[in-house]
Subunit: 309 residues, 2 copies
């Protein structure tokens, strides 16, 4: 048995997710999807594979599910396109790969991981990232693949306006992103985050998700963090690295660090959102300052899925 308490935590976005506005069928679908993704990641760890492999596998699963705002379920931007961002980081080496404003790639997180492994650059955007994807035969999908009626209807409601937040019955201000953090049986941490951004966002807008230290960070000496929420505020708060610094420089526990960063720092700026995070002892902290966060976590001792506060 490993001396490390390996485990994984995932999220599928945070925001105004009210139980009274969620149908039992829809709630069950979310719970099932979250359980499935956390199981995919956990089984990867259980098989002795790396934290990087586990977070990649879990995020691929979430990207392929139309319920979440990433991959297949990505929202429409202001010109009706799906533009995706992703980041993956290895806590052992601090190697990181990111892609931003990329269209038609089925799994952004796979592309980000290829950037991490095979590019001298950290972050590739737009057509440059797409060209890199083609070099590695990354799976490309047509625009039609990314079309879901739910996201299209959300876009139609605010299309042409300057509004770029989701604000619709049942999921007001739902801030969609997916992410995973893991500790493997060798004591290595990793974090992965992926998103379709915000409905009706201006094209070319890049949020916190693909940016190392902002929406995603991993460092074996502190923690692995994946953020979700109002990206512009998470950026200004440098949330992911803030949690790491609170542990490293102030000696806070993971839970206390995540609470300070989300409940004090992000909240005082006016931002909504949350994080899933894990440290080398296998402690998991899932903290958010809004009504709900789609989330799940699993290790050798527990297995839990939750949506509301």
């Amino acid at each position: 048995m490993s001396s490390y308490n390996f485990g994984i935590a995932i999220h599928g976005g945070a925001g105004t997710i009210e139980k009274t506005l969620m149908s039992p069928e829809r709630e069950m679908a979310y719970n099932r999807a979250l359980q499935n993704a956390v199981d995919v990641g956990y089984k990867t760890l259980e098989a002795g594979l790396s934290a990087i492999k586990a977070v990649e596998a879990a995020v691929v699963d979430l990207e392929n599910c139309p319920l979440f705002n990433a991959g297949k379920g990505a929202v429409f931007n202001s010109v009706g396109q799906h533009e995706m961002d992703a980041c993956i980081m290895d806590g052992q080496t601090l190697n990181v790969g990111s892609i931003a404003a990329v269209r038609n790639v089925k799994n952004s997180i796979i592309l980000a991981n290829l950037v991490r492994e095979h590019s001298d650059h950290v972050l590739l955007a737009g057509d440059g990232a797409l060209e890199f994807a083609k070099k590695f035969n990354v799976e490309i999908e047509s625009d039609a693949y990314f079309h879901t009626d739910q996201r299209y209807d959300q876009w139609q409601k605010i299309k042409g306006s300057d509004d770029f937040q989701l604000d619709h019955t049942g999921e007001k201000k739902y801030l969609g992103t997916v992410g995973a953090v893991a500790l493997d049986n060798k004591g290595n941490l990793a974090a992965a985050t992926s998103t379709g951004g915000m409905t009706n966002k201006k094209f070319g807008r890049i949020g916190d998700t693909p940016l190392v230290g902002l929406g995603n960070y991993a460092n074996n000496s502190t923690c692995a963090v994946s953020c979700t929420g109002s990206g512009e505020y998470l950026m200004r708060a440098v949330t992911a690295y803030d949690i790491s610094c609170l542990m490293e420089y102030k000696g806070l526990s993971l839970q206390k660090a995540a609470e300070f960063s989300i409940l004090n720092r992000l909240t005082s700026l006016g931002g909504d959102g949350g994080v899933v995070s894990i440290d080398q002892d296998g402690n998991i902290a899932m903290v958010f300052n809004c009504d709900g966060m789609y989330r799940a976590s699993r290790n050798q001792n527990h297995n839990a899925v939750a949506i509301y506060r």
Copy 2:
């Protein structure tokens, strides 16, 4: 007289800048350009204007000078284009504006400042940023404006290869960026950074410069920082926010924080580079781990320009 010791520090890039390989004429041209830019910024502060106005003015001056890798002197990317990144941040409000992979905009920092003031987004990239620029009648220049023989020759030497570092006589591994940090007479801090990236970089590559907390950061409660160097390493080290956290969470002075972040953290990752930084007491720290950094600083008591260690 103001109770704040207002002042400004600027840089024009860091790297292998060897005195033996620099002609006296060229050295004089750099010294003159640095003095000019720091004066432009200092006079803005002296006139009672904000730190944001001062760093913007100084960076515009550096962007308009063909000697530095930003604006007019931007390097060529792998397909012979000039793709520019910039970021500006207000330490009082933590409002930040960034642009990435933008072509043909004369002054990237002006566009970044417009994003900060007029966009709900923090970071706009590529054509989306260019569209935003046109809405605000930002000055656009033809590709010819950005052509300088020196940069073209640099590109020709490595074009078609996978090499993307500058590596030529006199400026081996010169890592070009420009930046400014300032404290104004009301006690507000600001930071601005701008770059043309790396010669022969793959198109779509985004470095640390436009990314809040990575290449540029300002917070009245700690410091203002502008980075220059090997961007991929500055990103992985989250250098700008790291310095702020070392002050806030560990209680280090600005100088000690900048030294730890550059001389320990960045160096241990294998990265080259440096920072200019200022705190609310007007302390200025300029730290780098390579042969030289084009830099200048000025306040009511001193006025200095330097290139070498």
